[in-house]
């Protein structure tokens, strides 16, 4: 560790593409939204152990000015933490003390079109430049030292319902970002820009135009307003130069009769050539989605043995309630199995396509379907530990929603869902007073066998969680929940090791890094960033 630190000194302040490729070799930093290109949310730091975790204490709290939902997952670069605050501020602070160096404030138009709050999930870094996506659908480059803007690029027209909410992904000399707006009749875009100049290099449209393969999966003009948004950072495999992204629901969400067909490439994982943006393969989890089950989950890239042979895998716990395993080079479907209670599919066929149950789609009078609208899991990050060789995911289980459909025509800039949902489990916010019927469903942090999807252990919670999971080489698993707790579990068996009540909901991932040689763990909860380390 010491050697690594010394070695990195001359490179400080310049996060080269080579450093991003080897991000896990710098465990004192957290260089990307997911911590590394493989998005395992795993760190080799091991100062905090199962034995000494009782000595974990609060080192600092950074209070935000914004009271909007706080979904940031920070990056930490050579002693500086960069985080975002709603709607579109970027803050640089001293990771050792929490004191601010600078704040960048992006001025938004009076009205923008977020589906679900003006959230932002974080930034990316290349050299000495940070990248921010905004609610007026811009990509902004910011100087890491001063917080001053270097350039901006317009990704799409925000007045048509487009917005950027996720942390961009830097690959080589490109910055990649995509557009949200799946409830506003957009047509999803993922685009790559020159990191130095902001010039667009390639653009992938998640819904093919007439004449392009896949357009035939949309009846009539429905492809024009079909959604398939991008709102979570993807992953990257440098060996194959493929970048993996999950796409959002087809629109309108709950009246599928408006869009006959499979609706490609909604609810898909898409594997694109990172240099050209060309589609190499795709897999659609929920063809002709009727429930708003975006495939917007973290693509977890893992090399693991399957039937005695090492395979390059892509692991995916999907919002639709099924856990999937793919060969990430070819896209071959290897395994799919439910990981929560579901009643919309009888099962998957040999190629992974769901065999839908009859009568589970939205209706005029309402249809009760499991899992509910927020799915078995959602956008919050899972983790894979190479130590335990287990896949960890926060799940919402044994809960349903009642899905309604009605007719509606598309109008620019207006909500285009053509239906509604009722559920006893709150979809995206914390009830200060949790008086929900415990029988309406529960949350659980689960460890799954990554190849079979079988449950190895679980830690149940009264409420559901929107927090990601972090695992470390010392077999400590950190996560949080809506109730306001940050918790640590034994990654081997799910036993509770430590908990701290922080009093607000968590809607981001815990990350770990070092300051002054000490391992820290930080998480955004409520409207503040909290950092913990062992007592001095």
């Amino acid at each position: 560790m010491k050697l690594l630190l010394l070695f990195s000194i001359p490179l400080m302040a310049q996060v080269t593409p080579e450093r991003l490729l080897k991000a896990t070799a710098e465990p004192h930093n957290w260089l990307t939204y997911h911590g590394s290109y493989s998005s395992t949310h795993h760190s080799t730091l091991s100062q905090i152990t199962r034995e000494n975790i009782g000595n974990l204490e609060l080192k600092w709290v950074a209070q935000m000015n914004s009271l909007e939902k706080f979904e940031t997952t920070p990056i930490v670069v050579d002693g500086v933490m960069y985080l975002t605050e709603a709607p579109n501020n970027v803050i640089a602070l001293d990771a050792a003390t929490g004191r601010e160096f600078w704040v960048y404030e992006h001025k938004l138009p009076d009205v923008t079109y977020p589906c679900c709050g003006r959230v932002n999930r974080g930034v990316a870094i290349h050299g000495d430049t940070l990248y921010l996506g905004t609610h007026d659908a811009k990509l902004i480059a910011i100087d890491t030292k001063t917080g001053q803007k270097r350039w901006e690029a317009t990704v799409a027209d925000y007045k048509k319902g487009y917005a950027l909410a996720h942390a961009p992904l830097v690959i080589q000399d490109k910055v990649i970002a995509g557009t949200a707006g799946g409830e506003l009749g957009i047509r999803g875009v993922l685009a790559a820009y020159d990191a130095k100049t902001g010039k667009e290099i390639w653009r992938f449209k998640t819904i093919p135009e007439p004449g392009e393969k896949g357009n035939e999966t949309w009846g009539g003009d429905s492809w024009k307003y079909g959604g398939a948004s991008i709102w979570l950072t993807g992953s990257y495999d440098p060996e194959t130069n493929l970048t993996y992204w999950g796409t959002g629901n087809p629109g309108p969400d709950w009246n599928p009769a408006k869009r006959p067909g499979d609706n490609l490439y909604s609810d898909c994982v898409i594997a694109l050539d990172a240099s050209t943006g060309q589609l190499k393969w795709y897999f659609q989890f929920t063809p002709h989605d009727e429930w708003d089950w975006d495939a917007v989950q973290t693509p977890v890239l893992v090399d693991h043995e399957v039937n005695g042979r090492m395979r390059k895998l892509l692991l995916w716990a999907n919002r639709n309630g099924f856990y999937y395993v793919f060969d990430r080079v070819t896209g071959e479907f290897l395994k799919g199995t439910p990981f929560v209670k579901q009643n919309w599919a009888i099962g998957l066929d040999e190629r992974g396509r769901p065999i839908k149950a009859q009568g589970r789609g939205p209706s005029a009078t309402g249809t009760v379907t499991y899992p509910g609208v927020q799915g078995g899991t959602n956008w919050f990050a899972p983790s894979y530990s190479p130590v335990t060789k287990l896949f960890y995911v926060n799940t919402w289980d044994d809960y349903s929603s009642t899905f309604f459909a009605w007719d509606q025509e598309y109008e620019q800039g207006k909500w285009y869902a053509a239906g509604g949902v009722k559920a006893e489990v709150q979809s995206a916010s914390r009830d200060r007073l949790n008086r929900r019927n415990p029988k309406a469903g529960y949350g659980a942090t689960r460890a799954l066998n990554p190849v079979t999807g079988e449950k190895v252990w679980e830690f149940r919670t009264a409420e559901v969680s929107e927090a990601g999971i972090l695992t470390t080489a010392a077999n400590v698993l950190f996560t949080a929940n809506r109730e306001g707790y940050m918790i640590a579990l034994d990654a081997a068996n799910g036993k509770l090791l430590w908990k701290k009540y922080l009093g607000g909901m968590a809607a981001s991932s815990p990350v770990t890094w070092e300051a002054n040689g000490k391992q820290h763990v930080s998480i955004a909860i409520g409207h503040a960033m909290f950092a913990f380390a062992l007592r001095d």
Partner: protein
């Protein structure tokens, strides 16, 4: 276009002490347009009936978390509510007023049914049935049940009838029966006010607020049942009507 339509209502002020704007678009046609917009723009989260869902709050109660006046409703719909999932809506001023008018009407139509009994007879029943043994009203009574202050503005005639005849049919979760047994042997009964994975917050039957660590509990149960007795068979249909009439006067 938007700006011009905005200018129209700016000149219209309410004729009472506050100076907030009143909705200038309240004709039956406006209401009908509002219903159409409500269905397409609001109902996904607030429910087709406006009674809320897991995503958005109930809009039929006549009071709103983030607005009190017509003008407040207008602002919430155009700007959204920061910190929640409520977005701002990009409609023109007239359309927003039409939605606001429709939302106001949700409460009026819910509360439209008039009680038909004798309120004075109802008040006498209220006393003789000893309602204040559990409920609080005008400086007297107890706090075990729902406070009846302004109950006439909060519950419709139908809802009051249900509460009297089938009190457990729609009992709010804070009135469900909770019972726990501590490992020490002590039994606690009361109302569950809040709960998480590790703890539960209760108002116990002795009137004490208690936070209990779940690891101290040997067992617990929660029953979706009201403590309120049913007046089915205890009062005649006419008497129920009288009691409801009295309750509707409590505004």
């Amino acid at each position: 276009m938007v700006r011009v339509l905005f200018l129209v209502p700016l000149g219209l002020y309410a004729q009472h002490s506050d100076t907030s704007l009143v909705n200038p678009f309240q004709s039956p046609d406006d209401r009908a347009r509002g219903a159409v917009f409500f269905r397409s723009q609001c109902a996904s989260c607030h429910g087709a009936d406006g009674k809320g869902s897991g995503q958005g709050p109930n809009l039929t109660l006549g009071t709103f978390r983030h607005a009190n006046s017509d003008e407040g409703l207008f602002k919430v719909i155009t700007k959204g509510v920061p910190g929640t999932t409520m977005p701002g809506f990009s409609m023109n001023g007239r359309e927003i007023w039409q939605i606001a008018g429709f939302i106001r009407g949700l409460n009026l139509s819910r509360m439209a049914e008039q009680a038909k009994g004798n309120a004075a007879a109802g008040e006498a029943l209220f006393q003789s049935q000893n309602c204040l043994a559990c409920h609080w009203l005008k400086g007297a009574g107890a706090s075990r049940g729902l406070s009846l202050a302004s109950i006439g503005s909060r519950l419709s005639v139908g809802e009051m009838r249900t509460a009297l005849l089938e009190p457990s049919a729609d009992v709010a979760p804070e009135y469900w029966h909770w019972q726990g047994k501590l490992k020490t042997g002590e039994t606690i009964k009361g109302q569950r006010l809040n709960e998480d994975t590790f703890s539960i917050q209760v108002l116990d039957s002795t009137g004490r607020l208690r936070g209990i660590d779940k690891s101290d509990l040997a067992e617990q149960s929660l029953e979706r049942k009201s403590s309120m007795p049913s007046f089915q068979g205890r009062l005649t249909e006419a008497q129920i009507g009288d009691l409801v009439s009295y309750l509707t006067t409590l505004k």
